[in-house]
Symmetry: C2
């Protein structure tokens, strides 16, 4: 195994999995992979993160933050069983829909930065991606830039946050992934997280994913609950 | 109990405890108090945080992040038993001494911000304080400003980080605390954390604390291991 030269935050969704393969195959990086277990309803994504990390022969740190984030993230439809994951139609144009997890990305990047500092690595990659139809403030170019402004103040070990796909659509990311042989069967997006019965096809991330596959002209290999 | 209208991060050291009393007694705030348990050698400080939070009749959330930060913070003399807490003389002029904990403050502020968002509070107070003789990048005006630039991007619940003591010396803080009746017996600073045998008197934070008390002309009421 090559020495680690960056950190990659990988959820197991199609963006971060594509990023991981892109780092290894296109940029010739050897990332330490960090995955967060945070009471997400779609925690089946972690199995997908494990699959790709293992298949690429990389080290994998799964950080279990369930206990500390149970209350902190309880206002999100992604974690709270009492809040239904919304249909895509209800979040169109919402700048911060119920699927937003309070400050999740800043928490995850901060923890990853501590890992990077302690392990003498100076770059963290994450799969932030532009959202055309609804939005999260913590997946934007402005967010990445502002976080880097914080990190740059570190006097000995400034960590650089890299989000190579931040201005790409999901279709762009899928095209990259197809060109480098990503196995999308082993990725999970649906916020409802029911891998046995299939992805719902109607939540915001399913809608985006299905649109990307349709746009690129490829059939999404994951199981869906209903015909889409 | 009044409704909570801000969050205060309180370690149990003299700066954050003074801040807590200042918030309640001077600014008439009702903070929810958050304390972090992160494998710090001086975890006795948590008992002091509990004392003041209880005496002020405030709600207290102690976030146990030991499991997730054990490895991440392992390069710091504050947490790693194999790294000795340095003598003040060895860190003079060091912009980031061994007592620095990798990205700790950004992690803690990020978690506190998630708490604030979920509980509909829009301000977080923390006891950052200028360091004259050695330094941490994450207790500076620049850091607070940069973190606020990140938080301001939040589209529905921007959280403001407030550090009212950021430009004060420890002497200034002590004077404020004395004027509002803070019981400094129930504060703990020494990084070595041995409350039974007493504070070491020579680590960076002991040195700063002792200097402040001497400067203000008050005897520090906590036990010290040796005459200072």
């Amino acid at each position: 195994m090559q020495p680690v030269n960056c950190v990659a935050i990988v959820s197991g969704g199609m963006d971060s999995v594509t990023l991981l393969h892109y780092l290894v195959k296109t940029l010739s990086k050897t990332p330490a992979v960090i995955t967060f277990d945070y009471n997400q309803k779609h925690s089946v994504e972690i199995e997908c993160a494990k699959y790709h990390t293992s298949s690429l022969n990389l080290q994998h740190l799964i950080l279990d933050v369930k206990n500390i984030t149970r209350d902190l993230f309880s206002s999100s439809a992604l974690t709270n069983p009492e809040i239904n994951v919304p249909h895509i139609d209800t979040v169109m144009g919402d700048p911060q829909p119920p699927t937003y997890v309070p400050n999740r990305n800043m928490i995850f990047l901060s923890l990853a930065a501590a890992y990077a500092e302690t392990h003498n690595v100076n770059a963290i990659y994450y799969g932030a991606q532009i959202h055309d139809i609804y939005g999260y403030w913590d997946t934007t170019t402005e967010f990445v830039s502002a976080i880097n402004s914080v990190m740059s103040l570190n006097r000995k070990n400034p960590i650089q946050i890299e989000a190579p796909f931040v201005s790409y659509s999901k279709s762009d990311i899928l095209k990259i992934g197809m060109s480098i042989g990503v196995n999308y069967t082993q990725t999970w997006s649906c916020y409802n997280g029911d891998r046995i019965n299939g992805a719902c096809g109607t939540c915001p991330t399913c809608a985006e994913r299905l649109y990307a596959f349709k746009n690129v002209g490829v059939t999404d290999p994951v199981l869906y609950r209903k015909a889409n």
